[in-house]
């Protein structure tokens, strides 16, 4: 956001001609920008060349040291091992003293120190052959560098922290490192909560900024990846899916709030991830075979109650209900079936879990209703995107049913044909409607 000085200066004559600003104001603006020190292009080019030179020289030194590493004594290796963190800290001190307001210096020095800490600890571990777990290393790294987010107001470090914390939770919570889960990654929650005030500060500053956009995507992706890590081994898969549906429902509600509902879809990660997640869960549970397996295993919920995931789900439900009650823009969506997915899914599990065919039928019906809703909405408000979303949901369901052996061929064929015809007909109808509207506007 923000017009560059060059564009503004070019528009000044136009603004004066149209009476937006006076001649005196235009003159004052020209004088103001000419008095500001602007780094000439040649000087900036020199800086870039200098930086490249420094980078290449530094890389060269690192390679020479790496080649002769085995010949160095332990003491020399230890001293060299501290260089990354000392360099990072030196840059950070310089930034704090001289370049405090320069965002490039703040972000760069914080990021260099973030990686410098990891490099030093890794090198010390190598020199002394210190064994340890990867998730332990990641946690130490995060705890030592997370304060940089606030000291330098660094969104880059915040993003790197979120990514690293997600890696940590994957290793610990899903047992990717040891093969079995070690323990619940509760510290992950603490790390994410620690980042949230930074998010809030940036949001208050400029809620539609690129920083917030990236923070949204990173936080949402991280939470989605980590959610399942809080389930214990006794929790049956259907309850894990139910918990995910609650999370996606909450994200969907957040995407419908006034802050985001007017944004384009790609700038609304809450809506996109929430809707996509719920639809994927419904499509997965549209298979009769899955419900058969669930009904054979029995509806054991006691394991679920004992897992931290249950409490996170309750928190997500409460947050969702609060959003729903306090946000009129969500309530205005009420005919939208996606508002009710979690509730309906829970009802199906509890009431029809023992009857797999009925449960699968209910889920399929819900998907079809959702698809029809979006097709109808797209046609009404003249939006190809929404129309085709509805058609895509229907087409995906059709493809899934194609592979469903429990449905006879003839019904699969009929459903496919119907979906294909509907695709063409709906798009054609909307195109005709648009052409008619355009010709009407032209006549006027």
């Amino acid at each position: 956001m923000g017009t560059s000085p060059k564009n503004l200066l070019e528009d000044l004559n136009d603004l004066v001609a149209k009476g937006v600003i006076s001649e005196d104001s235009a003159l004052a603006i020209r004088e103001y920008y000419s008095s500001r020190s602007v780094v000439p292009a040649t000087s900036r080019f020199s800086v870039i060349l200098g930086l490249l030179g420094a980078l290449l020289s530094g890389s060269g030194i690192v390679l020479v040291i790496a080649h002769n590493w085995e010949l160095l004594s332990q003491s020399i290796k230890t001293i060299i091992a501290f260089l990354p963190v000392l360099l990072g800290q030196g840059l950070c001190i310089f930034t704090l003293l001289k370049k405090r307001t320069d965002i490039v210096w703040r972000e760069s020095s914080a990021v260099i120190l973030f990686f410098g800490v990891a490099a030093t600890i890794s090198m010390i571990s190598q020199i002394f052959h210190i064994s340890g777990t990867l998730h332990g290393f990641l946690l130490t790294w995060l705890l030592l560098t997370i304060p940089l987010v606030y000291i330098f107001s660094s969104t880059m470090v915040a993003l790197l922290t979120i990514a690293t914390a997600t890696w940590y939770v994957s290793l610990l919570g899903y047992g990717f490192e040891s093969g079995t889960r070690s323990s619940f990654p509760f510290l992950y929650l603490a790390l994410i909560i620690f980042i949230l005030p930074h998010y809030h500060l940036q949001y208050k500053k400029e809620r539609l900024s690129v920083r917030i956009h990236f923070l949204n995507w990173f936080l949402i992706s991280s939470v989605i990846i980590s959610w399942g890590a809080f389930a214990n081994a006794e929790t049956s898969s259907i309850w894990i899916f139910f918990s995910y549906s609650c999370l996606f429902q909450l994200l969907y509600f957040a995407g419908l709030t006034e802050n985001y509902s007017q944004s384009p879809l790609m700038r609304n990660p809450f809506l996109l991830s929430g809707a996509t997640g719920m639809l994927i869960i419904l499509l997965i549970w549209s298979f009769d075979s899955l419900w058969q397996t669930f009904s054979r295993q029995g509806n054991s919920i006691s394991g679920y109650f004992n897992s931290p995931l249950f409490y996170l789900t309750v928190a997500a439900i409460l947050a969702g209900v609060l959003l729903l009650l306090n946000t009129s823009s969500i309530r205005r969506q009420v005919p939208n079936p996606l508002i009710f997915v979690t509730t309906i899914f829970l009802i199906v599990i509890l009431l029809f879990g023992a009857s797999p065919s009925i449960a699968a039928f209910m889920v399929n019906l819900l998907i079809i209703i959702t698809a029809v809703y979006f097709i109808r909405k797209g046609t009404k408000i003249n939006d190809f995107g929404i129309l085709n979303l509805g058609l895509t949901i229907l087409a995906t369901l059709a493809v899934f049913r194609f592979f469903d052996d429990s449905i006879p061929f003839v019904w699969r064929g009929v459903f496919f044909l119907g979906a294909g015809i509907l695709f063409f007909a709906a798009n054609l109808a909307l195109l005709k409607k648009r052409k008619a509207l355009t010709s009407l506007n032209n006549k006027e």
Binding site: W69, A81, F82, I93, L96, H129
Partner: protein, 183 residues
């Protein structure tokens, strides 16, 4: 602004404290501990190498223990003594030994019962030998060959102190692995 600099210096001090304390702890063990030779045993030939380090398994990781120790993941204290130039496990306890001079912390990996005897498999904390990535493949080959060769002996020199241990070097037939790589 002043407070920010003070906070940064505090954070920087902690960032330096962690690696410095790692170095000082290991240096203290090297200075005050005693060198022991731990005989290495063959490991699964398909996965002896993780990343840029060699995973070393030791013969003395297989210990006869009592039922109180048979919990996987349990932290134990392993005391060692010198037996004909090689390390021998003298005891495995759940509490820090008061009498033993040389011991370190380890973790129980699994246990098995055989003839009313419980055999514990304990993971020693010095099982990763870091090596240059360009030498890794050759090191793996030399190491695997040497541990399978019953005519020779492969062992690690480990300095053991009170509660900690530092892996110093890996030897094959009394020659450091690093020297064999340059041959």
């Amino acid at each position: 602004m002043k407070y920010l600099i003070i906070i940064f210096f505090a954070v920087a001090a902690i960032q330096l404290y962690i690696p410095v304390s790692m170095v000082l702890e290991k240096q203290a063990v090297i200075r005050n501990g005693k060198d022991f030779k731990f005989i290495a045993e063959p490991v699964d030939p398909t996965h002896p190498f993780k990343g840029k380090y060699l995973t070393i398994r030791y013969l003395s990781e297989h210990i006869t223990g009592d039922s109180a120790l048979q919990v996987a993941g349990y932290e134990v204290y392993v005391s060692v003594t010198d037996s004909s130039g090689f390390a021998k496990v003298s005891s495995v306890t759940t509490t820090e030994p008061s009498v033993a001079e040389h011991y370190f912390k380890a973790r129980v990996s699994y246990h098995e019962r055989s003839n009313n005897e419980i055999r514990l498999h304990v993971l020693f904390p010095f099982d990763e030998y870091f090596i240059d990535e360009y030498d890794a493949a050759r090191a793996e080959e030399i190491y695997n060959k040497s541990v399978r060769d019953s005519s020779g002996i492969t062992y690690a020199i480990v300095t053991v102190g009170k509660g900690d241990a530092v892996l110093r070097e890996l030897y094959t037939n009394d020659r450091p692995l690093k020297n064999l790589l340059t041959d």
